[in-house]
Structures are given as C-alpha cells and as structure tokens.
C-alpha cells in the first residue's frame, strides 16, 4: 500500500459520516435513503462518502429492483479491521476486508457482461 492510500484510509476513518455509514451498513445492506436517515446527513454527503468508501473497497454494492421497476443500490460494509503497527522507525498499516460471497461475485460478473 502506498502512502497516498494510507492517507486516504486514515482520512476516511477520521470522517464522522464515513464512520457512521460503515457502522450502519455493517448490520445489513442499506440504500442511500436509509443511510441518510441513519447517519443524519444529506444525500449528497452520503453519496460523496459512499464513493470514497467504495473506491477503497470498504463497501459492497448490490443492485436492487423495486416493484415500480426502478433500480437502486444498497451497500454493505466490507471493511473488517484496520491494523496499524509502529516499530523500528516505521509505520505499517494493514486493512482487512470481508471476502465477498461467491454468489454475489458471480452475479456481479454476469450482470456486468
């Protein structure tokens, strides 16, 4: 992991809304509407944080179809643990993500065809 990525991970974890999203979406997949409710933030704020979190692979995205035929996405937390180790004059950071379910990966790959 490069220093830039370390910085982004630390910046995300420092961000209160990013943390609220990660915590809320660790219970079950949630739509932006629900996250907006749960995190007490505006939709644009939530969208911005989701984009940054997804870039780091901290969130899984699911495509949902509501009865009217509209698509919307739900998100669940993939981030499991961040370990920071400082020793011998250097700092090392390890990020642990949950493995994606094979059925979800298969679906994502097939739908992206």
């Amino acid at each position: 992991m490069t220093d830039d990525e370390d910085e982004e991970v630390l910046a995300l974890l420092d961000d209160e809304y990013a943390r609220r999203i990660l915590i809320a979406a660790s219970e079950e997949p949630m739509s932006v509407d629900r996250l907006t409710d749960r995190c007490d933030a505006s939709p644009p704020t939530i969208y911005r944080r989701i984009e940054r979190l997804a870039d780091q692979g901290f969130l899984d995205e699911y495509q949902e179809l509501d009865p009217d035929g509209h698509h919307y996405k739900t998100y669940s937390t993939r981030l499991e643990r961040v370990a920071i180790e400082i020793a011998e004059g250097s700092m090392e950071m390890d990020v642990y993500r949950r493995d994606e379910d094979p059925a979800d990966r298969f679906t994502r790959l097939f739908e992206d065809l």
């Binding site: 699911y62 495509q63 949902e64 179809l65 035929g69 698509h71 379910d101 094979p102 059925a103 979800d104 298969f106 679906t107 097939f110 739908e111 065809l113």
Partner: protein, 111 residues
C-alpha cells in the same frame, strides 16, 4: 482383455482399470456434481441480489449438466427405452438449458 476393442483397452489402461460403463458413470457424476455447485451458486446470486438473469442462468446450467445425467440414467434404468430415446432426452434437456441461458442475456432494464 482379448477381444475387446481398441477404445476399451485405452480407457481401461488410462482410467485405473475401470470398465467403460463405470468410467462414463463416474465422469457424468462428477460433471453433475460440479454443475450442481455452479447452478446453486447462481441461484443464491438470484436470491441474494434479486437478479432474474441469475435465475435463468441457474436453470440453464442445471439443464445442461445435472438434468441430462439424472434423466438419462432414470430413463435407461427405469424404462425399457432405447438408446435413441435416452439420447433424445439428453438433447432436449440441452436445448432447454441453452434457451434458458439465452434468456438470461436479457437485462431487466433493456426492453
């Protein structure tokens, strides 16, 4: 061993001395088992992500792998049907499987 055809000899020597029928059965069983895993994974993908294409894909894979194996032995052992009938059952199953996969290409947002 004397009097058996060349193909039988080749099969017997390469597949641990099993006869043709057993080799075909075990190969088919392996295919059917793997097909079950793939079809089940596709079905779970449908259930978890509400993805209709994955449902058709699951059905397609089942009809291409599991159904031919099960139905061919069911027809072969359970009835006095000829080999041609067994082959027809397998071919029809393959056709259904491919139709389901073609159907799975259609996306919900395309008309």
């Amino acid at each position: 061993m004397t009097g058996t055809g060349l193909a039988t000899v080749a099969l017997e020597t390469t597949v641990f001395g099993l006869d043709e029928a057993t080799t075909i059965f075990l190969t088919g069983l392996t295919s059917a088992a793997l097909g079950t895993v793939v079809a089940w994974t596709a079905y779970r993908g449908y259930a978890r992500n509400d993805s209709r294409p994955m449902l058709f894909l699951a059905v397609g894979i089942a009809f291409l792998t599991v159904v031919p194996f099960v139905s061919s032995y069911a027809v072969d052992w359970g009835t006095d049907a000829t080999d041609a009938t067994v082959l027809l059952v397998v071919t029809v199953s393959h056709l259904f499987g491919l139709l389901a996969i073609v159907r799975s290409f259609r996306r919900p947002d395309s008309t």
